[in-house]
Amino acid sequence: MVGYKFCERLAEKDIDNQFQITAFCEEPRPAYDRVQLSKYFSGTTADELLLAQIDWYAENGIELHIGDKAHKVDLASKTVYSEQGRKLSYDKLIFATGSAPFVPPVPGIEKDGVFVYRTIEDLDDTIAYGKKAKSCAIIGGGLLGLEAAKAAQDMGAETHVVEFAPRLMPRQLDEVGGEILKDIIESRGIKVHLNKATKNIAGDGKVEKMEFADTSSLDVDMIVVSAGIRPRDEVAKEAGLEIGERGGILVNDNLQTSDPDVYAIGECALYNKMIYGLVAPGYQMADVVAEQLVGRSASFTGADMSTKLKLIGTDVASFGDIEPKIPHKNITINDPVAGIYKNLFISENGEKLLGGILVGDADAYGTLLQMYQNDMKLPAEPIQLILPSGDGVVASGTNILDFPDTAQICSCENVTKGDICQVIDDGAQSISDIKSATKACTGCGGCTQLVTDLFKAKLKEAGIEVNNNVCEHFDMTRQDMYQTIRATGIQTYNEFLGRHGKGTEGCETCKPAVASILASTWNKPILEQPHILDTNDAFLANIQKDGTYSVIPRVPGGEITPDQIIVIGQVAKKYNLYSKITGGQRIDLLGAKLGDLPDIWRELIAAGFESGHAYAKSLRTIKSCVGSTWCRFGVQDSTSLAIKLELRYRGIRSPHKLKSAVSGCTRECAEAQSKDFGIIATEKGWNLYVCGNGGIKPRHADLLASDLDEATLIKYIDIFLMYYIKTADKLMRTSTWMDQLEGGLDHLKEVVINNSLGINEELEEQMAHLVNTYECEWQNTLADPEKLKRFNHFVNTDDDDETVVFAQQRTQIRPVDDSERAQSNAIKS
């Protein structure tokens, strides 16, 4: 990772193209995100973890040799030799060889079933063996060990963490913090064993049991070793560079080794007796060397090991000195019931922050880190910094605008407060804009809260009100409205406006927003409240440019019989409509007069059709390919599933339209990956993809879960849809929703698959209600003379609207265009 970052930074800074960069890479793939490695177990592919695609290197003038270890360096002749026989001379050489997992020399460690946790190959081996394993023990309860524990749990194994020290994460947490973390982890089903030194690994050629120094033992089928790292300094050592006593390539403040033309960065470097095993310091080192190479002076003076991460669904953060030798005070919140622990180390005069630990709730991390790094004076009541604050805004007692402009907000990308303020002053409209302009929040994501707080504070300062209220008639966001309607049972817009809104008549924003929420909640026929409906819902038909309407009956899964095709054709001819096949695999009839809509639908419904909801912000269609029934490649019956799902979810209204598809194999003929939820068949079942989008801003769907059986698939879709309906903003597509969802895909997986919010039963019940109360709204309307009254152009006559005029094109009708209209108007007058 650090090697890649160096290439990226040098490529950026080397505007005169002074340097030709060649990179040798031992692993068979370009740099990937080791920090997110655990995602590999829950479906993220190796390709998706790459920090840059292989094209990026060539595009930036970097020659990359993967799967070719540089195994010898001759300092005198400045030559590098690689395993595959390459020989290259250099002006400058950078070692970014990282580290290898330390494997303690325990008897039996060489047996089958013992793995390390560093490379994709390690993970592939672990996954393969894990298929037969029922239980897995992780040796090492530090950062990496706990990541590996989550991965083991995701594999379905009974998971144990075995730690030598008396507490988990001994370097980042204190005793109480470690205790609280242990409780949280055990509550998630992972067993924790502390004070355990592994003495022997027993088994007949393979792992069967771990035996500890205190004579206890643990039966396990496999072991993942995550007990520390050892720097990869073997090539440097053989070349004659100075190595530290316990390993690591010695470097000075410029990160030069004992040879001034050779640098070392990242985990392989030993600076001031420290090996920096975190990404942020490594990236800093990469930047320092790149700066020097382009002729500027830069030095590395150490980095703090502050870190904030999410372990097994829990936030943990640690910064500064958590064992201060100088006299100090502590401000502590210890809540074992809520699983929250915050401990600040403060100077004795109460003015400076020395360090801190946060477990369970690390929202204050950003602010605290800034205060610590910038040596800022603490507020009069420092406890305010860690008391819970309602909306995640910067802890009271501090004002992010007080931070100096030089304060480094994003350490991965070296973005200061001043940089961000500049971008906002230049017109950034959103966090996305700030991300694109500065790259802040794109590394580890730890600074996201702080960047958001700064953005909001700046807007407020400029007098721009930042709220997410639906419109001026309600002091509520869409989520507030949704919650209130469900909680109060309110059924009508008029009552809702009267009791919770302002003004008399509302507007064209809040009326449809509330109509949608009412429909998603109670599922009553929407024409009962015609005055609040959006343009198309108002007449259950899509209005066209000339005031006529389109008619689209539902064709579930795109499957239609010859007789049905004939009926649609006959209706189109009888009412002189224009017909066209839609992208959603059904048929569109256009040019219908408002007054003819009821008659048209009466005929369609008599023939067995029902509303296609093409006019609604709701489920539209679930496309399909012919699948295993007919196709020589299909592995599952995609058509039947698409029909089943479309009949299940038809009529469900949502913040925006929902489109879906089911493909019968990986060739993906139904284009499921561009859908709000898409399903692709595998040999074992179904893969579920979510939050894709065609349209103005295309987005590929993300893989939520794989190889699901039908029942689980439906359960996950139920929960996903109701969660989206519950939490999205008005008119927000699932793609936008995913992009702004805090925690992103990981969070969504936790919610849907692991029920991390504990609401899934409720969501499933809400979906069941919608499914059970479904009624075709055209059928409902045709039985109700009151609703039919509005389906006439005029109130006081049955005359047609004579301004609707058609011309001919390719044997069908079309609305007259502007010049034809002008002509006919001229003739009239």
Binding site: H473, E505, C507, E508, K511, A538, I543, H793
Partner: protein, 112 residues
């Protein structure tokens, strides 16, 4: 415009808080009601943005919080004050012709 009041329907022919289109001589007129059918307004049905006969089908809303009301055209959501006919969205669009409305004996009358 003559001083004649022309009946265009019963108040019950119109849906609450919505518009209805009436034909009077050669004109298409959008008739709106609000506040439980106690206030009525009438404007041309033709939306001048793209010259389409659709304004009667728009959503109604409060206008400027000063007791006024507006309609949003169903096609492109251009907003018009239904009392004064004024176009109040962005863009260079003409104002609407308005018509006096009165209710007598549950009947809607327009002056056209």
């Amino acid at each position: 415009m003559s001083n004649e009041w022309i009946p265009v329907g019963k108040t019950s022919d119109f849906t609450a808080d919505l518009g209805g289109c009436v034909k009077v001589k050669d004109e298409q007129i959008a008739v709106y009601n609000v506040k439980e059918k106690t206030e009525w307004y009438a404007v041309q049905n033709l939306c001048p943005h793209d010259n389409r006969m659709v304004l009667s089908r728009g959503i109604l809303g409060d206008c400027d919080g000063d007791g006024g009301f507006k309609v949003a055209c169903p096609l492109h959501k251009h907003n018009f004050n239904i009392k004064t006919g004024e176009h109040i969205s962005e863009g260079d669009v003409c104002d609407l012709k308005t018509y006096p409305v009165k209710i007598e004996d549950d009947t809607v009358y327009l002056q056209v």
